[in-house]
């Protein structure tokens, strides 16, 4: 279905929804097979703008017609049932999809006005600006210190050893890991606990001074205490970075994010202020998912 930019809400011309959702606030939901994103997908101080983004794995389309802005210094949560394309969309934002053979991205994604899928765009500075934390902690088989120092080193951010130590310490402090590891920086990063490893990966990511951090279910492999620590960390990091987080936990999304986007079968169904999406979802699918009636 066609889509006109600037139209934030679903028009009443749609066959399936005879009523305008702007007027029908709580009771009437938009029908299931509604095809256009509901809610305010633009953002006044957008850092990343996605327009009509689609992703193909070979012939198969995994994600389609996504329009979404990601604003500065806020946390946006992507939620939705498994396999709906959250990770796929997230990986578009720093072109991690490039590493998958025969994965193709259509549409336009811009960062600070610059298209990131342009011909002459180099992924290296892009990824230095848009860092990523993965579902499973994946520290390098190196020492804790080297894990954090790796990014600054390859990018040539520091040349002096003392500067490097400073960066490592600052990053580990910000990731809330410093006190736990400061005595064993030379030990392998793979020897830490799962939660520590994940925080190490976060420290590794922020050591290169990114502007945006993408997190793909960063807590799914962690126990509740470690999860709480990471959530707190995300909240602190918000002041410095723009964060996009994929999560399966509604509570987590509600706790850490300011905006929430609901994905379903490769489409962005609804996006809005977190509080509004959770208390007053506009779309039937969103409500089903949030209330656990999904199916």
């Amino acid at each position: 279905m066609s889509h006109s930019t600037g139209q934030h809400y679903v028009g009443s011309h749609d066959r399936a929804s005879p009523m305008n959702p702007r007027e029908t606030t709580t009771t009437v939901k938009v029908d299931r097979d509604h095809r256009v994103t509901i809610g305010e997908y633009t953002s006044p101080n957008a850092r990343i703008r996605c327009r009509d983004v689609g992703v193909f794995y070979g012939e198969k389309q995994a994600v389609q017609e996504i329009n979404l802005d990601i604003g500065k210094h806020q946390v946006i949560a992507l939620i939705g049932p498994s396999g709906c394309g959250k990770s796929t969309f997230l990986r578009c934002l720093n072109r991690m999809n490039d590493t998958i053979p025969d994965c193709r991205v259509t549409g336009e994604i811009t960062m600070d006005g610059q298209p990131i899928y342009g011909e002459d765009v180099d992924v290296v500075p892009l990824r230095a600006q848009v860092g990523m934390v993965f579902q499973k902690p994946n520290p390098f088989p190196k020492s804790i210190f080297e894990n954090v120092a790796y990014g600054p080193r390859i990018h040539g951010l520091v040349h002096v050893k003392s500067d490097m130590e400073e960066i490592v310490e600052k990053s580990l402090r910000r990731a809330g890991l410093w006190d736990e590891v400061k005595d064993r920086l030379a030990q392998p990063g793979t020897g830490l606990s799962g939660g520590q490893q994940q925080r190490l990966c976060i420290a590794r990511t922020i050591a290169v001074n990114p502007e945006v951090i993408l997190m793909d279910e960063p807590c799914s492999a962690l126990d509740p205490i470690a999860t709480a620590k990471i959530e707190q960390l995300i909240d602190e990091l918000r002041t410095l970075y723009t964060i996009v987080i994929v999560t399966h936990s509604m509570q987590q999304a509600a706790r850490v994010s300011q905006r929430t986007a609901y994905f379903h079968l490769g489409r962005l169904i609804e996006v809005g202020e977190t509080a509004q999406v959770f208390t007053n979802p506009q779309h039937q699918l969103t409500e089903d998912y949030i209330t656990g009636r999904f199916g």
Binding site: P125, H155, G156, V208, E211, T239, L240
Partner: protein, 433 residues
């Protein structure tokens, strides 16, 4: 927020630094990539070099230079008494026939030495050929026929241009070259398929040396190898994968097999020499012993391949068979084995192909002896194709170089065929569960 603003400047500074270093890193990237490509290309260039050098040296061995002589089957030389009995015909002086024919072609050659050189022009088997002709058809006697006879191997090299420029030739060969050109002008020289090469056993004379003996030797040896290693290897694989319980013994066997697969082949040769020949008294140089040694060598390969083939059969098949009341033995032999068979055979063929190319252990058990006779059985002395190649490669005669290369080509053709079969089997029966 001041923290936020310092972060912002830090971000901007970082971005600038990253951008500044980018060119250098991109160049490093391209360099690294180029190293990889160059490496592959180097390996492929080696491959091409190997093949071209062997083919360019070897292809000419499949043809041999023949010379047309007008032979007068003079009864005086063949059978002066006129008895025409087989014995009488066999004892005739057939060498005189072609000698006089070639003298006639060059009437101005009178010097003794040059005359001898002239007789050296024709290959040493010429007399036997003429005898065979007369034996087959005694009515030839008295007539004059144009007969194509193989030239001497040096002349063959000369005709093929393998001896280098005219300036580098010895005096004798220079004469030969002059005669050769003259004969070529009379169109008495032609190249024909070198039948001897495919049909003869080994020989000290390059022109009579062939690979047939070695091919048969290889065939006998492989027969023993396949006949033993295939059943034993498959049985061992089945036992280890299906019946053996995991304990210290099976672990030991497993480690053992993996190690055996990496033991140098020559050590197997030592084993063969000490056990099969010295202890059991089996005949030296025989395909039987060769086959036994190669069996021990290929067994680990077949067992390892067999086990991975069995492993790839999904447990659901086993459960289904056991579920309808088959005994474990029936399950394996009726259900699992047929499914795993193509994989096992592929492994077996690859193992056998390796055995076909193997020579080091066979040197140890005496298959390196000079054997003229074509082997007739598993216990007659024989050599195999790779060892024949080794033997010829050691021979000083120029003509053996091209024969060695040609034998290599034949060996490679066999190997390509076997590997092709393996690839075909794999493709044909490839299953995805």
């Amino acid at each position: 927020m001041s923290d936020s603003s310092t972060q912002k400047t830090a971000n901007a500074r970082s971005h600038d630094i990253v951008m500044a270093g980018l060119g250098k890193r991109r160049r490093a990237e391209r360099r690294f990539r180029a190293y990889g490509l160059v490496s592959i290309m180097a390996a492929l260039v080696f491959l091409v070099l190997l093949f071209t050098s062997i083919v360019s040296k070897g292809y000419s061995a499949f043809l041999y230079t023949n010379l047309a002589l007008d032979i007068t089957f003079d009864p005086q030389m063949i059978d002066p008494e006129g008895a025409r009995s087989p014995e009488a015909l066999a004892s005739g002086d057939y060498d005189a026939l072609w000698k006089s024919a070639i003298y006639k072609l060059f009437p101005d050659v009178t010097e003794r030495q040059k005359k001898r050189a002239l007789t050296g022009f024709v290959g040493s088997s010429a007399g036997q050929r003429l005898r065979a002709m007369v034996k087959a058809d005694p009515s030839l006697i008295g007539s004059t026929q144009q007969v194509w006879l193989p030239v001497d191997d040096t002349i063959d090299m000369l005709a093929k241009g393998n001896l280098g420029d005219a300036a580098e030739l010895s005096d004798k060969n220079k004469d030969s070259l002059i005669w050769l050109t003259e004969l070529q002008n009379q169109s008495r020289i032609r190249k024909a398929i070198n039948k001897e090469f495919f049909m003869n056993g080994d020989s000290r004379e390059p022109e009579a040396a062939g690979i047939w003996g070695a091919v048969l030797g290889s065939a006998f040896t492989l027969l023993v190898t396949i006949g033993l290693s295939l059943p034993i290897g498959i049985a061992a694989a089945i036992y280890l994968e299906e019946f053996a319980s995991r304990n210290r013994w099976t672990d030991l066997i497993e480690v053992n097999i993996n190690n055996l697969a990496a033991v140098p082949s020559i050590v197997f040769g030592l084993l063969g020499l000490a056990v099969f020949i010295n202890l059991f008294g089996l005949p030296r140089s025989s395909p039987l012993v060769g086959g036994l040694v190669l069996t021990l060598m290929t067994l680990p390969v077949i067992i390892i391949a067999g086990r991975s083939a069995l492993k790839s059969v999904p447990p659901s098949v086993r459960e289904a068979a056991l579920g309808i009341g088959a005994s474990p033995v029936q399950m394996v032999f009726h259900h699992v084995l047929p499914l795993a068979m193509p994989g096992m055979l592929t492994g077996a063929i690859i193992g056998t192909a390796r055995a076909l190319g193997e020579s080091a252990p066979l040197l140890m058990i005496g298959m390196v002896a000079f054997i003229v006779d074509v082997p007739t059985g598993l216990t007659s002395p024989a050599t195999v194709l790779p060892v024949q190649i080794y033997l010829w490669a050691d021979s000083p005669e120029r003509a053996f170089v091209e024969r060695t290369s040609a034998a290599i080509m034949v060996l490679l053709v066999f190997l390509v065929m076997m590997n092709g079969l393996a690839v075909y089997l794999r493709k044909r029966y490839e299953r995805r569960w």
